[in-house]
């Protein structure tokens, strides 16, 4: 496998369309998951990625509560309280599944055996720091779950999020202001208006959706780079 994070492809500006919908973002992430990968999809929006993996992709889904080869969400007649995903949603089992306990499941994750995990985020820094577990609000009940293990465990960490908050604040930032989940752990950021690669030199824009690179760079308060066609 060649490592797609090593040398970014030339920038593509998709200006004939608007920002990606949630499902288009999920499809965009799915396109970057190599055949046969072992993948953990975080709770919430990243779960949608499963719906966009083509038949025969050979992708094996891990759920950190102790299973490989997890199938789609259970339909009415299939619901089994003993078979849930990390979001506690009833799911199904595919042929070739395996069950294991929590220490083994997180050993698998922490030991770097998962090829990719896809996570949501409040903020990602240009250095790849991730903040996705805690808003830092004083009255919030903090809860971390497996977020910190996922952030540092997988071979490649993909973040999937809208690029701006509802209030218009950028979520790709020079430094996270929310409490961190992991330091320097993010490899790619898939958003509605652009896809970023995070590397030693910071954030490189791979493509934009409905916005030219220069406008994007202007809206974000982060140093960006781009690879031009040569």
């Amino acid at each position: 496998m060649t490592n797609p994070t090593s040398s970014p492809p030339p920038l593509v500006e998709h200006l004939d369309r608007g920002p990606l919908t949630e499902h288009e973002m999920a499809a965009r992430v799915a396109r970057d998951i190599p055949h046969g990968s072992y993948v953990n999809l975080g709770i919430g929006r990243p779960t949608l990625v499963a719906d966009h993996l083509p038949d025969g992709a050979g992708v094996v889904l891990h759920t950190e509560n102790g299973m490989l080869n997890m199938g789609p969400a259970a339909q009415d007649g299939q619901i089994d309280p003993d078979l849930i995903n990390a979001g506690k949603i009833p799911v199904t089992e595919l042929p070739g599944a395996a069950y294991f306990h929590h220490a083994d499941s997180f050993a698998m994750m922490r030991g770097g055996h998962l090829d990719i995990c896809v996570l949501g985020a409040f903020q990602v820094s240009a250095a790849g720091d991730l903040a996705n577990w805690h808003t830092g609000a004083p009255d919030a009940v903090p809860a971390v779950g497996g977020a910190m293990d996922l952030a540092i465990g997988a071979k490649r960490v993909f973040v999937m999020m809208t690029l701006f908050t509802k209030q218009g604040a950028p979520k790709l930032v020079p430094e996270c202001t929310y409490p961190l989940t992991g330091v320097g752990c993010v490899d790619r950021v898939y958003t509605d208006v652009a896809t970023f690669q995070i590397g030693p030199g910071g954030a490189t824009v791979l493509e934009t959706f409905g916005i030219p690179y220069d406008d994007l760079a202007h809206r974000l308060g982060v140093a960006l780079s781009r690879q031009d066609w040569t």
């Binding site: 759920t63 509560n65 220490a103 903090p142 809860a143 971390v144 779950g145 497996g146 910190m148 293990d149």
Partner: protein
């Protein structure tokens, strides 16, 4: 030592002392030893430290134990859920302490307690709030956090089947924390759906060997 087969959940939790550290299995309701927790509510032990992935759902189980003021301290990874209103209230009122532990670190600290590991270095949480005040060390170019075992006085777990030696098998993702908690407590109590004869479980598929189990009780599964 010899496994005690208990007649009901009340017998199974008898003798749990005030101030005990109780490990409670389950991830959400899967693998949650609901009948044992209800019996613990009746049993009355208080001042407990409860170690469990979550901090109760709705008004039953752990939530009921919390609501009755029996829990001094929760050690868990994900207390906040859509229906964790009991914990949320007590936490905001300052009536329960919380030690928040990343889920994998929680599992590994329990394993360490069961495996005689004095402490271990983990990369999880390095550079975050949850590593504040903890010793760190650079190993192979990466910051690691020193983590210590979590040992229980009692573990309450749920499994699918037990044989009369206490060998356990689980079912699907209900396995979750049961096998590690079973290794990490002085007294381990398992509720199971069925107790089978010795020899009825496949020795290749036993997940928790009976050596870890002290008491077993068969409960009728909820319909």
């Amino acid at each position: 030592m010899n496994v005690m087969t208990c007649g009901d959940p009340d017998e199974a939790v008898a003798g749990i002392e005030d101030g005990s550290t109780v490990l409670v299995g389950g991830f959400g309701t899967a693998g949650m030893p609901a009948d044992l927790i209800e019996a613990l509510v009746r049993q009355g032990a208080t001042g407990l430290t409860v170690v469990s992935n979550n901090a109760g759902n709705g008004d039953t189980g752990l939530a009921a134990l919390l609501d009755k003021g029996r829990v001094r301290r929760m050690v868990c990874s994900f207390p906040r859920q859509s229906d964790s209103w009991v914990f949320d209230r007590l936490y905001r009122e300052g009536r329960v302490e919380l030690e928040l532990v990343p889920q994998g670190t929680l599992a590994e600290r329990l394993r360490a307690a069961g495996a005689g590991i004095g402490a271990f270095y983990s990369p999880t949480g390095a550079g975050t709030l949850l590593a504040e005040g903890k010793e760190t060390r650079e190993i192979a170019g990466r910051t690691h956090v020193l983590e210590y075992p979590i040992k229980g006085d009692v573990a309450l777990i749920s499994a699918h089947r037990a044989d009369r030696m206490g060998n356990l098998v689980y079912r699907r993702t209900a396995r979750n924390f049961g096998p590690v908690m079973a290794t990490a407590a002085t007294t381990v109590v398992a509720q199971v759906r069925e107790i089978v004869d010795i020899g009825a479980l496949d020795p290749e598929a036993v997940v928790t060997p009976g050596i870890y189990i002290d008491r077993v009780v068969q409960v009728v599964p909820a319909a």
